[in-house]
């Protein structure tokens, strides 16, 4: 076993090394000019931010994700897990490992016949392909009047203050379909978008409030806000409250025992349904067809969309049935949803 895979591991370690250097801005660069045509992504930051530097940062993020995927693969080989991985759900880490394994196996085919350079070129091309698929993120603008939204001048400060509370989350390492490692901030962005579409208060001064009384950016229920010791009507405290609430979800209760993408999806469902519901003991596969509110099950799908996680065919069918507007495909909706959610606080 060891002898069989030694050349492969050695070759991949070498390519990892080269890739690591590129992540650090070294040997080779992704051709951003080519990918910019479709997606040069992320022109979302506030005025004064250099577009290319943001693009480079994204390039590095994609490469880092790819590098992490390769390291996962090597770990899988060493653990003898490759043969048992499942690629079906796209949810658990084993699916990622197999996907990575398949990707790396292709690279191996080239590596054994060609040079290290061809391997690195392949990695470079794959990185560029992944980057080109990232939808252009939405730049959120002020809604004017008495409005308080993700486009408000102070929003980024509030967001960064709230994100400090995410440092303590027991947050899993997950790479999305664009090869990007999902960050705690990405998760906060997703929750804000799903809950309130980034609006805390309308331009006429009306607080964003649900039918049942949930308030603001993070749609905190009054009792929950009281427990979190925040004033839900205050935009900055509302964001902090949401981040603290997610800490409770990730660090205690049923969701804390989950891992990988499963934890991210079920964390979102728990945010909507309540972390201590007995339904939270289920897996995502069980929950999405369980006898619980459609709103909660939709929430899990929306979180996958907002984080750039691949939806399975059956999940796309459910999304189409539940919330994708008529006249729009699930893929179109997903791209828009991701672009809007991840455009928050850039």
């Amino acid at each position: 076993m060891v002898k069989k895979y030694f050349p492969l591991v050695a070759m991949l370690l070498l390519s990892c090394n080269l890739l690591a250097q590129s992540v650090g801005g070294g040997l080779f660069e992704v051709n951003t000019a080519a990918s910019d045509a479709k997606a040069s992504v992320i022109a979302t930051s506030s005025a004064g931010t250099n577009k290319n530097s943001v693009g480079d940062a994204e390039s590095q993020k994609v490469r880092s994700g790819l590098l992490a995927a390769i390291v996962d693969f090597l770990t899988a080989i060493s653990d003898g897990l490759v043969s048992t991985a499942s690629a079906d759900t796209g949810v658990d880490s084993s699916a990622n490992i197999l996907a990575n394994a398949q990707q790396q196996a292709k690279i191996l085919g080239l590596a054994t016949n060609g040079s290290v350079a061809s391997v690195t070129k392949t990695i470079e091309r794959k990185t560029a392909e992944l980057k080109a698929k990232i939808p252009q993120l939405v730049k959120h603008k002020s809604i004017g009047g008495k409005g308080i939204s993700a486009g408000s001048e102070k929003f980024k400060t509030w967001f960064n203050d709230a994100a400090k509370y995410s440092k303590d989350w027991k947050f899993p390492d997950v790479t999305n379909k664009y090869g990007q490692k999902i960050s705690r901030e990405d998760y906060l962005r997703a929750i804000i978008w799903i809950e309130s579409r980034g609006v805390h208060q309308s331009s006429s001064g009306k607080m964003t409030k649900s039918w049942a009384g949930a308030i603001g950016f993070m749609q905190l229920m009054p009792n929950t806000a009281r427990g979190l010791k925040v004033n839900a009507s205050d935009a900055a405290q509302n964001l902090k409250g949401g981040a603290k609430y997610l800490g409770e979800i990730f660090n205690s209760g049923s969701v804390s025992k989950k891992d990988g993408a499963e934890k991210l999806i079920m964390g979102a469902c728990a945010y909507n349904l309540g972390p201590f519901s007995k339904s939270m003991k289920m897996t995502w596969d069980q929950l999405k067809t369980a006898k619980i509110p459609v709103e909660t099950r939709s929430y899990g799908l929306k979180m996958k969309m907002a984080l750039g996680l691949e939806l399975s065919a059956s999940e796309k069918t459910l999304a189409d049935k539940w919330f994708v507007p008529k006249g729009q495909t699930v893929d179109e909706f997903t791209d828009e949803f991701y672009a809007s959610a991840q455009g928050i606080a850039r």
């Binding site: 009792n223 409770e248 459609v294």
Partner: protein, 171 residues
């Protein structure tokens, strides 16, 4: 003097903590088998509730239900199956952004309360057990907002006790 002051502060702060964490107690029902007590308390520095229902017989207290983080809002003791012993319908707030509730039904069987039904959902739900149609059969009614449709509509879920559990009569 400093030591005495320090000791006093420690005693007082300890007392304050105990008072702050003392559960709020209320009597749900007085039954032949004992007194049903609801105790409500929140776990400090968090959002989890440590609510529970106990059956007190004299000086003995037996826990018959623990909320496991959920906040008990209401407990209704009513005889649903006509056997002369009240079932317990427990309504709990889940705290999520969707404002959903969780309901459990406990039935008294062979000297113990056992969970026989669980349902999750019912935005802003409020439960009652009544004989609304005068048929002599008590049913569970949950008034709630149906958010599965857009825009949400107010609805009533009606459940009947059949074969040892609750079954929904109509959607």
């Amino acid at each position: 003097m400093k030591i005495i002051t320090l000791a006093l502060i420690m005693v007082l702060s300890g007392f304050a903590t105990v008072v702050a964490q003392s559960p709020e107690r209320s009597v749900i029902a007085e039954l032949p088998q004992g007194k049903l007590i609801l105790e409500r308390s929140i776990i400090p520095d968090g959002i989890a509730f440590n609510d529970r229902i106990t059956l007190e017989q004299g000086t003995d207290a037996v826990e018959i239900f623990a909320s496991e983080g959920r906040a008990i809002q209401q407990v209704i003791a009513e005889d649903l199956n006509g056997d002369g012993v009240g079932e317990l319908l427990i309504q709990m707030d889940l705290g999520g952004s969707g404002a959903f509730k969780e309901f459990e039904l406990l039935q008294f069987k062979e000297g113990v309360y056992l969970p026989v039904w669980l349902d999750t959902g019912f935005v802003a739900g409020e439960a009652s057990i009544e004989d609304r149609d005068g048929s002599g059969q008590k049913r569970v009614y949950i008034e709630y907002a149906d958010t599965d449709v857009e825009p949400p509509v107010e609805d009533t879920a009606v459940f009947e006790f059949v074969d040892g559990t609750l079954q929904r009569l109509r959607k």
